[in-house]
Symmetry: D2
Subunit: 349 residues, 4 copies
Amino acid sequence: MDNMHAAVLYGIDDLRYEEYSRPVPKDNEVLIRITSNGLCGSDIHFYKEGRLGPFIVNEPYIPGHEASGIVVEAGKSVRNGLKTGDRVVVEPGIPCRKCTYCKSGRYNLCKDVVFLSAPPINGTFSDYVAIPSDFAHSIPESVSNEMGAMVEPSSVAIQAFDRLNIQAGNSLTILGAGPIGLITLISAKAYGLSEIFVVDTVAGRLNAAKKLGAQFTVDNTEGNAVHEIGGLTKGSGTKYVIDTTGSSKACALAPIIAEVGGKIALVGWPELSDFNYPVEKIIEKELDIVGINRYANTFPKAISMLASGQLDLSPVISHRFSFNEVSKAFAYASNNKISTLKIMINHKE
Amino acid sequence: MDNMHAAVLYGIDDLRYEEYSRPVPKDNEVLIRITSNGLCGSDIHFYKEGRLGPFIVNEPYIPGHEASGIVVEAGKSVRNGLKTGDRVVVEPGIPCRKCTYCKSGRYNLCKDVVFLSAPPINGTFSDYVAIPSDFAHSIPESVSNEMGAMVEPSSVAIQAFDRLNIQAGNSLTILGAGPIGLITLISAKAYGLSEIFVVDTVAGRLNAAKKLGAQFTVDNTEGNAVHEIGGLTKGSGTKYVIDTTGSSKACALAPIIAEVGGKIALVGWPELSDFNYPVEKIIEKELDIVGINRYANTFPKAISMLASGQLDLSPVISHRFSFNEVSKAFAYASNNKISTLKIMINHKE
Amino acid sequence: MDNMHAAVLYGIDDLRYEEYSRPVPKDNEVLIRITSNGLCGSDIHFYKEGRLGPFIVNEPYIPGHEASGIVVEAGKSVRNGLKTGDRVVVEPGIPCRKCTYCKSGRYNLCKDVVFLSAPPINGTFSDYVAIPSDFAHSIPESVSNEMGAMVEPSSVAIQAFDRLNIQAGNSLTILGAGPIGLITLISAKAYGLSEIFVVDTVAGRLNAAKKLGAQFTVDNTEGNAVHEIGGLTKGSGTKYVIDTTGSSKACALAPIIAEVGGKIALVGWPELSDFNYPVEKIIEKELDIVGINRYANTFPKAISMLASGQLDLSPVISHRFSFNEVSKAFAYASNNKISTLKIMINHKE
Amino acid sequence: MDNMHAAVLYGIDDLRYEEYSRPVPKDNEVLIRITSNGLCGSDIHFYKEGRLGPFIVNEPYIPGHEASGIVVEAGKSVRNGLKTGDRVVVEPGIPCRKCTYCKSGRYNLCKDVVFLSAPPINGTFSDYVAIPSDFAHSIPESVSNEMGAMVEPSSVAIQAFDRLNIQAGNSLTILGAGPIGLITLISAKAYGLSEIFVVDTVAGRLNAAKKLGAQFTVDNTEGNAVHEIGGLTKGSGTKYVIDTTGSSKACALAPIIAEVGGKIALVGWPELSDFNYPVEKIIEKELDIVGINRYANTFPKAISMLASGQLDLSPVISHRFSFNEVSKAFAYASNNKISTLKIMINHKE
């Protein structure tokens, strides 16, 4: 069996770039040589805390799930046309294909989903990954390796837009201007949302949002986001609100900021499991609220919009590392949470 | 000007059946001789507390908004075919017809809506009412006066089903077995929902729900509704949950009872404006939540289902009074909140 | 290898009840002992013409795809809980599970679907059938073997209602009162459609529709369906129209019968591939038209409604045969097309 | 009473720029001084043929319905904030506000709609127009007079996208590259559609489409659009097809070009009321077809996207005339149908 390099997480603050046995693709799988990997906030959670939600790092494993690469081998029953040399994006959640969720188009809700990088399942921070061929999505020449690695995080924004049944020409507030918030902003503009407010408490992030085309940025350090957005919208609020913050306090602002008859998508996982929430506003304003838990059927759409140039996510990449510096990248990310946006880790060609 | 009798609320516990000037219909209005009036929980709120939400009884006014009657006069610009002798149901919320909500089919969200019985606007507890002709909905012979008066409360259930985009053949939990809960139950069966759970803490109400066809009734006095419904659904919960309770504690159960990918409608106004809510469940299960604030475009559907016999709401009527006993009816309702379902007040022919 | 009996179609008019090798379930399959089988119009097409659309009977094969039965063996990787003795319904179209249609909830559109009874794939007219366990849907005691066999044809109606996003309390015209038309009628009533018109040219079928609860039946022998429905609806037509006829002439009536803003579902395959169609009406009335090609995710809903008693399809069964008389049943059906509704073929216990 | 200039159509080829009495606004109306007017194909129909569909020019009247202007007077019951000096766009179809269509958000289907420029109702080719204030939509400084006049034709594209429930990142074929086809193309890109095919038979129009960002343009002069699009999409066709041609032959291509499970919008009125149509494809592919008849609730969205710069419709304007040359403009348009795109007629400031 051949070997490869991988980033193996042994425990808190202990990520090692080392030799690992190369995966062997099953009949329905393709083996992919990885070219680029984005570093996700959840990777950092496992790195700093050894756990996230129900998932615990009990044994060494490989993190990472935002990856692009090149097919180097196709199993003998692969029939979707993928072949050696094809450039692909990895969709990291492999569902059971048999339950009612899988059959009804919501395979992200499959309770038996196998998600690359959710311990103990190995992720994509390695030279090679093997996955079922239908979860390796072909990308054309016009989509770079790095943009391929951005398909996964942008999928969360697309899932929100899809579930909101979003209509262009309307207004949107994005709570949070971290990587997911900024990706949501760029995507929202490509979807035709025409008046976009971005709320955060970090000036640098708000500046980034402004540069990326937010019509209005609102600093909520003093807690006056509701007041300011009210003022800018003649008191009505915005049609859509998407919360990407991971803060229960910010999350609870959404029903107040949404206009009467508006719609809210909850993308970030608040730090608390339940908390004081203005439920009355949902009734009074006849709001719609949709939860977002990963994504389904979003990769082809993200790829198509990246290929056409309508979606350009490159401004979200703030730092780059080589794969052999992966430990350095994790350390950097965990020490500079606020000033970093997306960290991209590239393999040498 | 002719006179009539009306039930005039002068203040807390002070409802008087007395002479009142008969309304004169405007050109676009019909004058309706009222035949039946349902007593709504909100009427009792005004009667016992002098207020409800933002509405305050500052001067004597007429409550009531669940009414049927007979057209006795049509204004000269009435063009929808209504004429003297037509039996009709009163839709009590008259919107501005000009704002974006009115134009986009959500006229219940119009901020200038004039709602009969929201003080200081007079309601329907009188011999005659004048309303714009398009808010007087014709009923066929097969719909009785009392069933006509039930169209308004059943509209709330229909609004919930419409906004949930409900699909027959799925499961539903109804939180609360008061009048709205039971109307929701009966309507849900007519909509083809096939497995219905009803939760309450009052044995008599649960018995009523059982008689009306709930597959399962769950007594939540000990707080074990979640556990019981879990057991009855192999741990999955139900596809839909509709909260009709008006209790923040019950309302917060919905995201826990809903199955993964499920949908929740909030119909009852909890007694608190914000409270501890399991927001994480919305994200984890990718739930949809919709608020329900009155209704729009529901009256023709309710009437059609009553006319065809698919909807029989008569079991929800627990007590009947003559209109000249209206004060007695209010007193009875406020003293027997739990044992009364819908009280119907009929005018003499 | 064990044997069994099967109905093998050798060619036109040549169906033989004979010995056949019993299928052996794969690891993910269950082996089902068949109890009831409905006879479908498509079975008769193959029997009388040796072909249907692109499918040709080139070699002897087993027809049938409306079946219920009992699990007698479960493959070793079956994990959905099915076990020996469980009563089930066969969902006859097995998709690839990997293409964009399978992943997005429209697996009926999978181009690699394997459909039992589409030659050369064997169907269910045999003592035993082996299928993937997730396409064997468990039925409770309250659903009889025969009703189990009716789940497949009723799925077509449910697919139409789902794709129409049907709302209760509205009007519907059903074109055609054959088995699918009548099943659509019964189902429509269970879905809360409140004013149902049924159009056919055969008096006996219209009588059946009347007995099953159609508010209005219209004999179109003289071609005056449009005129009559217009008269009965004050000129507006009905909100929904579902064509089940298989006649291009009838199919072209739908846009004329539909009310302004109405919706049409095309269920029957007209005998012509293209024909004169009133396209202008689609634009003028802003109609929606949806095509229906089999079904996806409908079986659990049909079973749930049969189990609750909301759906009773037994009146559609007009004839019964024992399985060893299967050839006689096919002959009877092909000679008495108009007077037969659903023919049910039952296996001896 | 004050006078003004207007373009009055007396009969075929007889349009006169002449004095006309200035309209006086009713209480709920605003009086608008017109600044720009687009020339619509329907105006030319009336000019060349004296009729269009059910509408006939029986007496002199004023055409035009794509207009922007400035409020010069507001009736005394105007309450939406419009005041003298506000720049506005005219929405030309005023509905009854009382029928089920008006109340359910589809006011374009109101049978009593009063449509400016549908004879005998006067249109906007005049110095002043009076309309209900809620059909005068405010535009910000960033939207020019000409772009304001483009809101009406772009509304048709938005209506199509709304009714298709369009999702970004998918493919679209636009049949026809005339003004509506090109406006649809520009709008589709703003809505995030990522792979757009445009079909026409005129080289100049296809070149315009190419310049405006169509990924692929297809010359259907030889009738090989289906074949070419098939080749470019690996045989699948496109997710969406919008027909803007007004040709029954082109219209009938849509179900063939659409991919399995695709959706079609019919925008152009074919020259025939019924014609040979591939209905079987609708069933086989489970297509959705939606008719488009004008628009409802689209103006605010179009304005918002023009204001943000996401929609730039200026490339569609091919010619400009002064209002006093309006007769010349009509003559030019009717003699140069193929080489002209949108003709804009501007009033002097």
